[in-house]
Structure formats: C-alpha cells, structure tokens
C-alpha cells in the first residue's frame, strides 16, 4: 500500500530550480533508499516534504491526503518525522532535553515516558549521559541522540538524511543495523544516503536521483548488482 506518493514535484531556491517533475512512491512498512551524488536535490526533497520550504508545483499525498504546502508542525503531527542532515541537535540542551523536544507535539507528549524507555533500550548509552549537554558528545553519541529524538515522536514514516555521515566504519555499520531494527517495528523508512552499498543492502526498494530527477528505480538487490550503479556509485 502506498504511504507516501510524490507526484511530479518541482521546487527550488528563487530562480534556481532543483527538483524537476520528481515522482516517488513509498510503500507502507518498507525501507526505501534514495541515492545520488552531492547536490542532486535529496536534502531539498526532504525539506519540501517536511514543510520547511514550499513546492512550486506538484502534489504530495500521504495516505491519500494532500500534504504539500502544510506547515512543518502539521507534517510532524501526521507522523512524518525527519532526522536532518548533520544531526542538528540542540547543542546547549541536555540529551534528555533533546529527546523531550522530540516528543513536543501533544500526541507525542502523551506517550513520552514509554517512548523514552524504548529509546534508552535501543541506546543505553544515552541514559548514562542523559544530563550531559548534547554539544559535548562524540559524533556517534550525537547520532544516537538524533535518531532517538526522531523516535520520540512516534513516527509513521521516518526520513533520515545521511545518518552515517562523518562516522567511523564501525559506527556506520551500527547505524544501518539500528535503522533496520527500527524498520522491523513497522516504521516506514526513507533513507537518503551516500553510502550506497550499506543503504541498498538494507533497503526493499530504491530510487536513484541525478540532477533533480529520478533516473532509476528498483529493489535493493536489483540495484546492488546493476552495472551502472556499480560503476558510478560503488566504484567497481
């Protein structure tokens, strides 16, 4: 079943158009990867989906409801949660306060305590450091806070923008393992990644973007063995 349907989305910054008639479908419960080089418009796509910037044309359907043009707080209220690129933690607030901010909406606030327990189960280190200022944590720990913060909102669809960026190989493997685990609880995942190998290996489906458009689509397994992908993105 289609959870999110993006139909011919166009948008950009002022005179510079970034997305060109982009059409993407996300099925309920799947892990979907969007891969592409820097600057193809992946982050712009997420910003538009989250309501941080307007679309110039096109429609976005979430469970058959049109959501393009809605303000960010309404998008969050529908259960579409983004974990932004570079983590964007509230550096001068504690780990606990960051997690609490994740459960800001009234709906999420109601289940705050139980979700906090779940997050601590996935990331026990965060409970140890709950009163530490988020800005003083290591890169890997900050990543945990970012993901945990997203989970606190009780997402239906979780959009992760380059979660493995800047992490050591060990932590990167760990990140993808956690994402897979979250997907297994029923959360639909949209994964934006430059680490093509890992993201394709945990994805059900994937789209390849180049210069603001979709150029290829297929299952994770299919794309992993695709010669163009292997040459352009896996350096093989």
């Amino acid at each position: 079943m289609s959870l999110l349907k993006i139909d011919r989305l166009n948008t950009g910054y002022g005179d510079i158009q970034v997305l060109f008639d982009l059409s993407i479908e996300v099925h309920q419960g799947e892990v979907l990867s969007i891969i592409g080089a820097n600057g193809v418009g992946k982050t712009t796509l997420l910003k538009t989906l989250s309501g941080l910037m307007p679309a110039s044309s096109g429609t976005v359907y979430f469970k058959d409801q049109e959501i393009q043009g809605l303000p960010p707080e309404k998008i969050v209220g529908l259960g579409i949660i983004q974990i932004p690129e570079g983590r964007r933690l509230f550096s001068l607030m504690s780990v606990l306060e960051n997690l609490e901010m994740g459960a800001y909406t009234p709906k999420a606030r109601a289940r705050k305590d139980e979700r906090l327990k779940e997050v601590y189960q996935i990331f026990p280190r965060l409970e140890e450091r709950k009163n530490q200022l988020a800005g003083t944590l290591s890169g890997g720990e900050q990543q945990m806070v970012a993901i945990g913060r997203g989970l606190m909102a009780g997402p239906e669809m979780l959009m992760l923008d380059e979660p493995s960026m800047g992490l050591s190989p060990v932590l990167r493997e760990e990140t993808f393992r956690v994402v897979k685990k979250i997907a297994e609880t029923g959360v639909t995942i949209m994964l934006i990644e430059q680490d093509v190998k890992h993201s394709l290996s945990i994805s059900d489906r994937a789209y390849v973007m180049e210069r603001g458009e979709v150029v290829m689509e297929g299952t994770g397994a299919e794309l992993l063995v695709n010669p163009h992908i292997r040459k352009a993105y896996l350096g093989i």
Partner: protein
C-alpha cells in the same frame, strides 16, 4: 595627634563616598541590566536587532505613569497591569508588523528588512508619543519617590532603586525557571539554538517568535515600571537607555539573560565609581573602551556562545 585623626576621618569620608557610589552603581546597573534583558531575549530567539527597543521602554514608562497618575496606586501594583499589557503589545507587534516581513525573508539568516521595520516602529512610536503627550517632562510622585534607605556612615540609597534591584533578580530567576522547566520555555530555547530543527520537532516557529517578543516587551515594561518612581517620562527617554542596552547586550553575550544582568551591573559600577575619579563625561568613554576591548578578546561577550551568531 589631631593631624592624623583629621587624615583618618578624611579617608573614612572618602571611603564612605566611594562605597556609596559602588552601591549606587550596583543598584542602577541592575536596572540597566533589566532594560537590556528584553533586547537580548529577542535577539537570541528571533535573531533580530530590535531598534524599537528604546521606544518600547518609553511606552512601558508611559503606561506605568498613566496607571499611577490616574488611580494614585502604589507604583509596584501597576506591574501586574502594565506587564501583561506590554506582553500583548509585543505579541501583536510581532504578529502584525514584523511577521509579515519575516515570512517574505524566510530563508535569510538575519533579515535586514526586519531591522528596517523595527527602526520604522521606533520613529513612529517616538513621534506618536510626542504628538499625543507633548514634549513635557512628566514626573509622578509615588509613595516611594524620593524616599531613602539610610545606612550608617551617611550613606543614602534611593528606595525605588533598591526595589528595582530586587525586581531585576526576581524576574531574572523567574525567566530562568520558565526557560528551563516549562514546555514553552524549552521550545523557545530550542528555537534560538536551531530554528529549523525545532520546526522538525513540530514547534510552530511563528508562535514562538510572538511569545518570545511578547516576553521581551513584558520585561521591558517591567523596567519601565521600575524607572517611573524616580525618572522623568518624556517621548525621547528611550534613546538614553537604548544605547546602554545595546552595549550591555553585546557585553553580556547576545541572547544571554544572565549576561545582560551582569553586563548591566558592570556598566553601572563603572559609570558610578568611575565618575568619582574622572569627569563623568569620561566614564562613557571608559565604557565604550571596555566594550571594544571585550569584543577583541571574546567577541561573543561574557556569556555568549560561539554556536549561533
């Protein structure tokens, strides 16, 4: 024997006067800090330099003046009336005057047009006040006006200044508690740290801006109430405190409330004690000099952090 006794009493007199000036600087400085808190809060959250700040202080002073003059009430009882009024004044100013401009400049980090708009508000408010109230210097005689606390050693502290000092700290603590523990307070802090990330948490940015602006104006309204028992009210009174407030905000760190209060006290003490040793026109220079020096050493101010500005 009598020669040294005379020297000693002279020295004692001198110490008493210096101590008196130190206390005056502390009291007056805390009030300066109070006038700066609203400005620093608005900058910290909205990233906007509110050039209408002095005019807002003037509005608060007139509001307090009329409350007291029309009803003869105790000046500090005017606070629960003036402060909420000023909150809404700021809330609606943000919503109807500044927000439309904000929305047009959504992607700009520190919107220049907003600064121009606040400058426009400054001119309009000051001239409206001149038109409506005239250039007259108004002084209100309250139950605490001119009254003193006498300390041993011929030291006099003006009562309204002491109450101002107390109110500054109470409001500082209240603000701290609000920002630290309440949901709205945390949302305000989050927005000031990273507004896009806060949006992704479901925080309505515009509501936060309005609330923060309202709180900033409310605190400035409190400062107005504190000043009215011992300061004359007239349309351009805001300009005098405005310049000081800007220096204090930068000195204390943009967006830092404790920084504003501490910065105010430092300025107040330099102004007061400094004047004992040099012509009072020079103390302004010293304050500006210190301000520039601090900017060289720590550009983000005493309590400012590097992250956002």
């Amino acid at each position: 024997m009598s020669g040294t006794a005379l020297l000693y009493t002279d020295w004692l007199d001198e110490m008493e006067i210096i101590f008196e000036s130190l206390l005056n600087g502390l009291l007056m400085g805390s009030i300066y800090g109070l006038t700066a808190v609203g400005l620093t809060l608005i900058f910290g959250v909205l990233k906007v330099i509110n050039f209408a700040h002095g005019s807002i202080l003037m509005v608060g002073m007139y509001a307090a003046y009329w409350c007291i003059t029309l009803t003869g009430m105790n000046p500090y009882l005017a606070i629960p009336i003036v402060v909420p009024l000023m909150f809404y004044f700021g809330y609606f100013m943000q919503q109807f005057v500044i927000e439309p401009v904000f929305k047009v400049e959504k992607d700009v980090r520190e919107p220049i047009t907003v600064i121009i708009v606040t400058t426009g508000v400054w001119y309009i408010l000051d001239n409206l006040a001149l038109m409506i109230f005239g250039a007259k210097y108004r002084v209100v005689h309250t139950s605490v006006t001119g009254k003193l606390f006498e300390l041993p050693g011929d030291i006099y502290l003006l009562q309204p200044k002491v109450y101002g000092f107390i109110l500054t700290f109470i409001s500082g603590l209240l603000l701290f508690w609000f920002l630290k523990t309440t949901l709205m307070g945390k949302a305000i802090r989050a927005t000031s740290l990273d507004r896009d990330a806060a949006s992704l948490m479901g925080v309505n940015q515009y509501k936060i801006y309005r609330t923060a602006f309202g709180i900033g104006t409310a605190v400035t309204g409190l400062a107005g109430c504190v000043l009215v028992p011992f300061y004359s009210v007239y349309p351009s009174v805001g300009i005098i405190f405005d310049i000081r407030a800007f220096i204090i905000v930068v000195l204390g760190g943009l967006g830092s409330i404790p920084g504003a209060i501490l910065g105010g006290i430092i300025v107040g003490i330099i102004e007061s004690v400094g004047a004992m040793y040099m012509p009072s026109t020079w103390t302004e220079l010293v304050i500006y000099g210190l301000f520039l020096l601090l900017l060289f050493i720590k550009p983000t101010g005493l309590f400012g952090s590097k992250h956002d500005f």
